[in-house]
């Protein structure tokens, strides 16, 4: 068990004087879904690009499927075993879904009959059969992303890398895509994904790292991270202009920790019922609600900032 398909130590990526990835360590195990959670510009995409060999490694070591990737000598072998679903839509717009896949089948050197069979399989897996002959430019965002996933799976990769897979999709397409990715997980695929959506990370990832300013600031399973960094529940009280009303001061002593955001006061606690009752009593006009803590709270706790802004 726990065979490492990727192992990074002190991994660095620089662009000029800017250090995008600043000495990070992580291991990805075979068969798991591993996530990089962080705000835009945190270094997630740079890390992914080093893994799928689109960017040079500027420092540290990066072992992928047993090869040292940093010197670039095994790029072809590594890329043959990694499928990539990039953030931007880079399908061939003038070609049909099927033609897009046929072009890539040649890049993976699949013999023709095998390519045809594999393409049929993937069109079915991603429910694209009816769109097989539609041109890419005519597809919705969700269908485009599904086509890109089919394309990423063509070479029967050992690792599938997904960079922000649901960014820009409508809620229905997001849920649909999560369902497809969960189906892949059930087939023991190794998934590597970046996201700045905490619900996505919580839903899909077995383990994840929280990344900020090019550094890993926390690592573990979603449940572990929540248990380690924040209390189980949080009570949110609506604020206007970040001003904390004097009545709320009394509540603070019942919370384990307090965060003041521009629109909300967050009171972290082991149990929320008492806080909610008090809030309703002291400030009947303000909306107050209790919820389970999430990775969003973990991120806020660690970095002092909100994730999705």
């Amino acid at each position: 068990m726990n065979e490492n398909v990727i192992a990074a130590r002190g991994l660095i990526k620089r662009y000029g004087t800017f250090t995008a990835v600043d000495g990070i360590d992580f291991d990805v195990h075979r068969g798991e879904c591993f996530g990089f959670l962080g705000p835009n510009g945190a270094g997630k995409t740079s890390t992914m690009r080093m893994i799928y060999r689109a960017a040079a490694v500027d420092g540290g070591t990066l072992m992928i499927l047993g090869w040292e990737a940093a010197d670039g000598r095994h790029d072809r072998a590594i890329k043959a075993r990694i499928g990539v679903v990039p953030q931007e839509d880079n399908l061939d717009q003038e070609l049909s879904v099927r033609q897009n896949l046929e072009v890539f089948a040649r890049f993976y050197k699949l013999p023709r009959p095998e390519a045809a069979r594999r393409i049929d399989e993937l069109l079915k897996l991603l429910r694209l059969e009816e769109k097989a002959h539609s041109r890419a430019e005519q597809l919705s965002g969700g269908l485009k992303r599904r086509t890109q996933i089919a394309r990423g799976l063509l070479g029967t990769p050992e690792i599938l890398v997904l960079d922000e897979p649901t960014t820009g999709l409508d809620p229905q397409a997001r849920h649909d895509l999560w369902e497809r990715l969960n189906a892949l997980k059930r087939q023991q695929a190794t998934l590597l994904l970046t996201t700045h959506y905490m619900d996505e990370a919580e839903r899909l990832c077995d383990r994840l790292v929280v990344i900020d300013h090019g550094k890993i600031v926390a690592a573990g399973s979603p449940a572990e991270l929540i248990a380690r960094h924040v209390s189980p529940v949080v009570v949110e009280i609506e604020l206007t202009d970040g001003a904390v009303p004097t009545e709320a001061e009394a509540l603070k002593q019942h919370a384990r920790r307090v965060e003041v955001l521009s629109d909300r006061l967050l009171l972290y606690a082991d149990h929320g019922e008492q806080l909610i009752a008090q809030a309703a009593h002291l400030m009947p006009d303000r909306r107050a609600l209790q919820r389970r803590t999430t990775l969003e709270d973990v991120f806020l706790r660690i970095t002092g900032r909100r994730l999705e802004e």
């Binding site: 890329k79 990039p86 880079n90 061939d92 072009v103 040649r106 890049f107 050197k109 070479g155």
Partner: protein
């Protein structure tokens, strides 16, 4: 300079196939202009202007026959140039097509060679359309080709295509904005078209021939004009060697500039 990683020709062919697949969709629509352009020049310049031109044509009897091989060389130049300029720039910067290719076992060197082969294919499509028309004129009693030398013209067109594809690829690897191509076309390809002996001997200007000797289309025109008359003397040999040598140098340089540009 970054080391080049070697080319997998099967993957270069796969890149060629991708371009062919896109081209094939509009094949019937695209092929026609390739025939109109030569006709336009041959009729307008060759028969129109040619009516007033009576001498100085290096032993060729008509102005029409004088300009035809040079125009054919220029059409190969144009055919190759469009593919490696605007088309390649879009795939590189806007459509992110190459990013997608590079996420597979395809390496940048395979892409550069695949695009090169495709640009040569386009140069041949343009050039051969021209050749077919010249053969038609010849058979119809207006001689433009004479002797077996014409059979080597496809090779010359492929060489011209390779040369201009590599020059265009080098330019594309260096530019950051698509607007710069208007300079490439108006300040580079257009002057070459005018001052490479296509329409008049360039030594009409002081040092004209000496300067033109260092430019690529001059040699393309000299070679095609020689072959059209089944002449392969020192001049034609020197021009063929000149183009092969420059191609060889660029084949070394161009993949390396792309690797440095793309893999950062």
């Amino acid at each position: 300079m970054a080391p080049s990683r070697g080319v997998d020709w099967r993957l270069a062919w796969a890149v060629w196939m991708r371009n062919f697949t896109v081209y094939r969709r509009t094949w019937t629509l695209n092929i026609l202009p390739n025939f109109f352009e030569p006709l336009l020049y041959l009729v307008g310049m060759g028969l129109g202007v040619g009516f007033y031109v009576r001498e100085g044509m290096n032993g060729v009897s008509t102005y029409l026959a004088f300009i035809a091989p040079g125009l054919m060389a220029a059409s190969a130049m144009n055919g190759a140039s469009f593919e490696v300029t605007y088309n390649m720039f879009v795939k590189l910067h806007f459509a992110k097509t190459y990013d997608a290719f590079l996420s597979t076992p395809v390496q940048i060197e395979d892409i550069v060679m695949g695009e090169l082969l495709w640009a040569v294919t386009r140069a041949l499509i343009y050039g051969l359309a021209f050749l077919v028309i010249l053969a038609g004129f010849t058979l119809a009693g207006t001689p433009m080709l004479s002797g077996p030398g014409a059979l080597a013209l496809p090779l010359a067109l492929a060489l011209i295509g390779t040369l201009f594809a590599l020059i265009g690829q080098l330019f594309t690897s260096k530019v950051n904005t698509i607007d710069l191509y208007s300079y490439y076309f108006t300040l580079w390809l257009s002057p070459l078209f005018i001052f490479s002996n296509v329409f008049f001997p360039v030594d009409r200007f002081p040092y004209g021939a000496q300067i033109a000797w260092f430019t690529p289309l001059y040699h393309g025109v000299r070679l095609t004009r020689g072959l059209a008359q089944s002449r392969f003397g020192t001049e034609e040999l020197v021009s063929a060697a000149w183009m092969i040598a420059v191609c060889a140098a660029l084949l070394w340089i161009v993949p390396r500039t792309y690797r440095r540009r793309i893999i950062r």
